[in-house]
């Protein structure tokens, strides 16, 4: 596919989903809930792009992406709770859960989240910094492959346990909820929802182009080279650790971005979003769509979540079976994912023609 044609398709899809759908929603043809649901899917697609960079291209299986997602989500959640002011149940300037836990004073780390620009910055920088520190320690000592997966999973578990506690001042098991407004717009207003939806679509488009630029640059080749033969690359003289940290940080920040857009649209963020399974599900989105293709990651994220919404409604109790089968089926039969299959079919068609 030529580059210009590619751009036209990308922009066309954006015009369709990012502009036409909200327009139809404003006219009443598409329900608010549907719009909201798709907005969330697109948030997940942003997360999946990061997963594709680190796993699909670089071959590093990170099982803590959901933690980064939640870091972004909690950041914006904290901001929105602070903006709620005295409109909470207890009429205090403090968030409700703090009143409930008899906290008298706002914890120091909540202070920066009064300002929206700072919140947006921290929503990217905190997951980025977490990835930087953790990546530095892990990659420096050349933990890789299965070991890296296990260590990140342990990290996800430990952080999940930490966020569940009340003392961490992040709402414990119940997380953060009862948000009222963002940037002065009431979250319950359909117009606000449309605005968030369009922002998400634009962010997804931007994230996609960022990733596309990366994988087409020399860095992208290097990431693939790391996947193919990390050792060899080391003896060509690259400081592999720096590249790995870089891509881990980018993936973490993309997850944080997804989280920041997600929380205003769902109105709640709980530690449940970052448990061990949540991170692994992100892997399956990417795998289903097709690794190392970017498009596949986005398609997979939307598709798996569509299926989730459908199955939990239509056949409750079957979701975990389905997810399990999906994991096994993809790995055994479709390691290339949907995009891989599509490419193969197209090639076969081209040969016949």
């Amino acid at each position: 596919m030529s580059a210009t044609r590619h751009h036209w398709i990308a922009l066309g899809l954006f015009a369709l989903f990012g502009l036409l759908v909200p327009l139809l929603n404003a006219q009443g043809f598409i329900a608010d809930t549907t719009l909201n649901l798709w907005g969330r899917y697109f948030c997940f697609a942003i997360v999946a792009l990061g997963m594709d960079l680190i796993w699909g291209y670089t071959g590093i299986l990170s099982l803590c992406q959901a933690f980064f997602f939640c870091l972004g989500g909690y950041a914006i959640g904290m901001h929105m709770l602070l903006k709620t002011g005295t409109r909470g149940v207890y009429g205090s300037v403090l968030p409700d859960f703090m009143v409930w836990n008899r906290v008298e004073e706002l914890p120091f780390f909540w202070e920066p989240f009064h300002s929206l620009p700072l919140t947006l910055l921290l929503g990217l920088l905190v997951p980025g910094a977490a990835a930087l520190i953790f990546g530095f320690l892990a990659f420096r000592s050349r933990i890789k492959g299965v070991y890296f997966a296990i260590i990140t999973q342990a990290l996800a578990l430990a952080m999940w346990l930490l966020f569940l506690r009340n003392e961490t001042m992040l709402g414990g098991t119940n997380g953060l909820t009862d948000f009222k407004s963002l940037l002065g717009f009431e979250l319950t207003q359909p117009a606000t929802k449309r605005g968030l939806y369009i922002t998400t679509c634009a962010a997804l488009l931007a994230a996609y182009y960022l990733c596309r630029y990366m994988v087409h640059s020399k860095v992208g080749k290097l990431l693939v080279a790391i996947r193919d033969g990390e050792h060899r690359l080391r003896f060509i003289g690259y400081h592999i650790t720096r590249y790995k940290i870089f891509v881990f940080v980018v993936a973490g920040m993309l997850a944080g971005l997804g989280g920041m857009l997600y929380v205003p649209q769902t109105g709640i963020i709980t530690p449940g979003r970052m448990d061990v399974q949540a991170s692994i599900e992100i892997v399956v989105w990417t795998a289903l769509g097709g690794r190392g293709t970017l498009v596949g990651a986005m398609v997979g994220a939307v598709l798996v979540n569509l299926l989730y919404s459908y199955l939990t409604g239509a056949f409750p109790g079957t979701w975990l079976y389905f997810l399990g089968i999906l994991f096994i089926g993809i790995v055994l039969f479709f390691p290339e994912g949907i995009v891989g299959i599509a490419t193969k079919l197209r090639k076969r068609g081209a040969k016949k023609a």
């Binding site: 796993w55 071959g59 299986l61 320690l137 892990a138 420096r140 000592s141 050349r142 933990i143 492959g145 299965v146 070991y147 997966a149 296990i150 260590i151 999973q153 342990a154 990290l155 578990l157 430990a158 952080m159 346990l161 930490l162 569940l164 506690r165 033969g229 050792h231 060899r232 061990v276 399974q277 692994i280 892997v283 399956v284 795998a287 109790g317 975990l320 079976y321 997810l323 399990g324 089968i325 999906l326 994991f327 096994i328 993809i330 790995v331 055994l332 390691p335």
Partner: protein
């Protein structure tokens, strides 16, 4: 009275066992005597005075067979149900529930001589609405009459657990009046641990004696008994100006030395306990991680469903238990535990083998993919267990393994934990023999080191792989079998330890039995050392941090494999 007590107790106990064994329902009418019938009538009369005199008489008789009735009266659980002919309609109610109309309903129990569920002629438990019952009102005065009876009955109760609780309570709130009863109870006590507890309680009560020499002896006694329970009490006695301050200088001095020695003893005990619980946790981790490590060493697959094989072992034990309860005579039901061991191993190993044959063998050279596929398997297995067995089931503890070894009053090292440690040691020993003394072990070690070479010299590599998988998952099944001793059997029980056992494998180094064992025990003990210092969650975070730091200097674990390997 005192002398006739024991034989009577034994007699009643014998009757009770006989009744329980025959399972007959006619016992209630034959057991009551005329006097009792009169007393029961008084109780159901709804007249305060009649009730009071009946309670007084029952308390004076002191017959332990009234225990359930008196206990029920004390707690306001005795009601009159007009439809019941026996015991003047007196019944004990059970836990309140809601029926489908939202009304409160309660199951009913007999008051005498055993708290046995009432059954209708069809054998179904009798459950009635609370509106059909009338409470036997017992005011504070009546309850005060009951209390000494209850205290005595509990101190001499046939159930050890009841005696234990009573012995502890009496030391805290018994008062001087309890001293003679307690002395009797010490004399008749047969269980060494409860006897010590009673002695501690007696000494605690004697601390308030007016005679300084008695108090001095009591302090010495507490010191000799090494009971940590006495520590706050003794400290209160040293506080200046308190209501309990010890006036006598000599006794105070004695208290000070007693406190010192108790604290020292407590400290040692804490160390022992920490190591014990650390070893216990470590043994569980080793049991879990061994199977993981064998599989990972052999075929480079991290089995994310490993915890679920443990769960399968636990459910197998549960099923075998239920079969035994249904098929074997009651005296032999405890055999289920020993009986279920091979089943646990074979079921888990068999399912593991099946999984290897169908799925895993296609993923040998793709470790990350196999990780995802096994995660998928784990989701399916958990959901299957949930739909087959529901959410909560438990295996009952075999009698030999209940209780524990008491190293000091109140400090018990439970037998079930010891059993798990012994099991871990036995399995490690067995594996060592298997690895280093058998042909299979030799082949296994050879394939772990160099697959291609082993295939060249004619080792059936594929079969060895499958057997390694069976072995690894089978050991997980055994771990699950053992885990039924210390916890409930729930579908996601495997998840509790799985991440920790992954960390054990990572920390220990690949394919090294010794690494897995030392990392498992080390992590277990470290965890238990950190836990009292920080909370469990923070100690987990700290432990992860420590592991990451450790991997900074030794990225391939404790016992890395070194050599000229062309890993490009």
């Amino acid at each position: 009275m005192r002398k006739t007590y024991l034989p009577r107790l034994l007699f009643v106990a014998a009757i009770l066992t006989w009744i329980a064994a025959t399972g007959s329902q006619s016992w209630a009418t034959t057991a009551g005597t005329d006097g009792e019938t009169r007393l029961f009538k008084q109780l159901s009369s709804a007249e305060d005075e009649a009730i009071e005199s009946a309670v007084r008489e029952l308390a004076e008789r002191g017959d332990p067979a009234y225990y359930e009735l008196m206990h029920g009266l004390f707690n306001g659980e005795v009601y009159v149900w007009q439809e019941r002919a026996e015991h003047a309609g007196l019944v004990i109610i059970g836990e309140e529930e809601m029926d489908e109309y939202g009304d409160s309903i309660v199951p009913l129990f007999a008051i005498y001589p055993q708290r046995q569920a009432l059954r209708d002629p069809q054998g179904a438990a009798v459950v009635v609405s609370l509106y059909d019952l009338e409470e036997v009102e017992t005011g504070r005065k009546i309850r005060a009459l009951i209390q000494p009876y209850l205290m005595r009955a509990e101190l001499f109760h046939p159930e050890a657990q009841k005696r234990r609780i009573a012995a502890e309570n009496i030391g805290n709130k018994g008062g001087a009046a309890a001293i003679p009863i307690l002395r009797q109870a010490i004399e008749s006590e047969t269980d060494g641990s409860i006897k010590r507890l009673k002695q501690v309680s007696l000494a605690k009560l004697l601390l308030d004696h007016q005679d300084a020499t008695v108090r001095l002896q009591a302090v010495q006694q507490l010191e000799d008994l090494n009971s940590p329970l006495a520590l706050p009490l003794l400290q209160a006695r040293l506080q200046a100006g308190g209501t309990e301050t010890e006036p006598d200088a000599k006794v105070r001095e004695q208290i000070e030395t007693a406190i010192g020695s108790l604290k020292r003893f407590g400290f040692y005990m804490q160390i022992v306990q920490t190591f014990f619980s650390g070893l216990s946790l470590g043994s569980i981790l080793v049991l879990m991680a061994l199977g993981l490590a064998i599989i990972y060493g052999q075929i480079g697959v991290i089995n994310m469903a490993h915890g679920e094989f443990m769960m399968i072992g636990a459910y197998t034990t549960y099923v075998v238990q239920n079969l035994c309860l249904a098929l074997l005579p009651p005296a032999y039901t405890d055999l289920f535990f020993a009986l279920s061991l091979p089943f646990a191993f074979l079921t888990a190993g068999g399912i593991g083998l099946l999984m290897e044959l169908i799925i895993i063998r296609h993923l040998y050279s793709r470790p990350l993919e196999s990780l995802l596929a096994t995660w998928g398997i784990s989701l399916i297995l958990i959901q299957l267990a949930r739909s087959i067995f529901g959410d909560l089931t438990a295996v009952k503890l075999p009698r030999i393994l209940s209780g524990g070894y008491e190293i000091a009053p109140q400090i018990v090292l439970p037998y079930n934990r010891m059993f798990i440690m012994a099991l871990a040691a036995a399995i490690v020993g067995g594996l060592l023999i298997l690895f280093f003394r058998t042909r299979f072990g030799l082949r296994l070690r050879a394939t772990t080191q160099n697959r291609d070479m082993s295939a060249c010299v004619g080792i059936p590599v594929r079969r060895i792989d499958a057997l390694a998988f069976l072995l690894g998952t089978g050991i997980a099944g055994i771990a699950g079998w053992a885990m039924t001793l210390i916890g409930n059997v729930v579908p996601n029980m495997g998840q509790t330890y799985i991440v920790d056992s992954f960390l054990v494998v990572v920390t220990g180094g690949v394919g090294k039995l010794l690494g897995t064992i030392s990392a498992g025990l080390g992590l277990g003990i470290f965890n238990k050392i950190l836990e009292p210092l920080f909370e469990a969650v923070y100690s987990k975070v700290i432990l992860l941090g420590l592991i990451i730091l450790f991997l900074q200097s030794r990225p391939t674990g404790l016992f890395p494999a070194r050599g000229r390997s062309e890993e490009l």
